[in-house]
Amino acid sequence: MSNIVIRAENISKVYRLGEIGHGSISGDFERWRARIRGKTDPRARISEGGNGISKNGLFWALNDINFEIEQGETVGIIGNNGAGKSTLLKIISRITAPTSGKIKGRGRITSLLEIGAGFHPELTGKENVFLNGAMLGMQRSEVKRKFDRIVDFAEIEKHIHTPVKRYSSGMYMRLAFSVAAHLESEILIMDEVLAVGDKVFQEKCIHKMHQVSKEEGKTILMVNHHLEETDRLFSKKIVLKNGKILNS
């Protein structure tokens, strides 16, 4: 266990299709009334066949996933749409709980899920940097020390006092990446972040990620579609297909 920062044991995530409540009391009541009168549910969703959806409407987004990640590794999570990449990252980031299984880990996690970190649209860039630091459990003074480097890297000195809702998607992403890369966390999780931003900035990000994993020993988990471009970055790959690991 010395160097292992994340160990996933038998992780599964099941989503229920059609079986979820209707989101209102009246909806659930209508369904219950139909059931006791022996009629079909007036609001039932028509079942759709497809990948991983079993007859009882259960969808296994992840099915018995096991892996270990060591400190300082840069792990690429690769797979087609719907393979379970994002679900896996969401579970590791503690956004949603797994249906079964267990993950043990060590160190703080910063996640960049989809576009934008946990930014609050009404707050300025600066306020968001501090709020993000606090969400990681950091003190204000700790964030202050890193602040200049964060703004510098994101190249948004001029707009740091503007609410982030007025940022372009490129600026938003640059700031989000910069915050995630500079804040003191031991594990960095990214979901297709590099899709946004121009080539120059992408190169800069890749360089930065190299740096933080080599020099600071940060562990990086990243979802990727563009294999050729970032292939050289990964020291390990987890290939997912229909919620299962192909090889690792």
Partner: protein
Amino acid sequence: MRNKEWTIQSKHNLFDFGLKEIICYRHLLIQLIIRDVLALYKQTILGPIWFFIQPLLTTVVFTFVFGKLAGVSTDGLPRPLFYLAGIINWNHFSECLNKTSTVFKDNAQIFGKVYFPRIIVPLSISISTLSRYTIQLLVFLFCIAVYHYKGIAIHITPIIFAFPLMVVTMTSLGLGLGIIISALTTKYKDLAFLVGFGLQLLMYTTTVIYPLSAAPENLKWLIQLNPMTNIIEIFRYSFLGKGDFTTCSVAYSVMASTLILFTGVIAFNKVERTFIDTI
């Protein structure tokens, strides 16, 4: 926090309140409170003036409608003071409940992107609501001073030392009910409609506009069933010298609030783990 070990599990202990984690994230709590308080002042031109106008106008209307027109007794107290005492306390309770009841809906965006103990958000809301309560309390104290200056005797009683307990009870009651509703609304969205008019109806079951002594003897228990009633009564007794409460009724309010808060935290912690899948 550095190199701290953590475990993510499918199962979750219902009675694990995660107090340790809340302490780890205290900087976030403080920052959210500051943000909420500042937002109250920034959002409008008149800013905190609304906090004065709202209870004062309500008092004027109540004095006219319930006092002058309907002639409801106020236990011999000056009508404006009597109503104001009820209104500011009820306001605080309903504000806590109202704002915390939409926590999941309002923060779905941020909750879907970063992890931190979700309970921090309703906690910060209910604490920052206290800033508004403080302003309204000052208005109330100012009104007492005005009456005192005019030569009308107001008896402040030693029970006033129980005031912190009253505030804590009121806040936990509002917070507890709020997070219970927020947990339920992730499944039943139409509950949100109920909160608005439910709170309004509930106000008439407490002693905001009438004294407990004016209630019929056989219905008194029903009014006292609402934990807010006993808090408003003890508040009136301590600041104005007239109020109808017993040690028993106050103990009931404190216990009911604690129980509701515990239930709320349990429900909230259960829902926070997977609500993002259903909202």
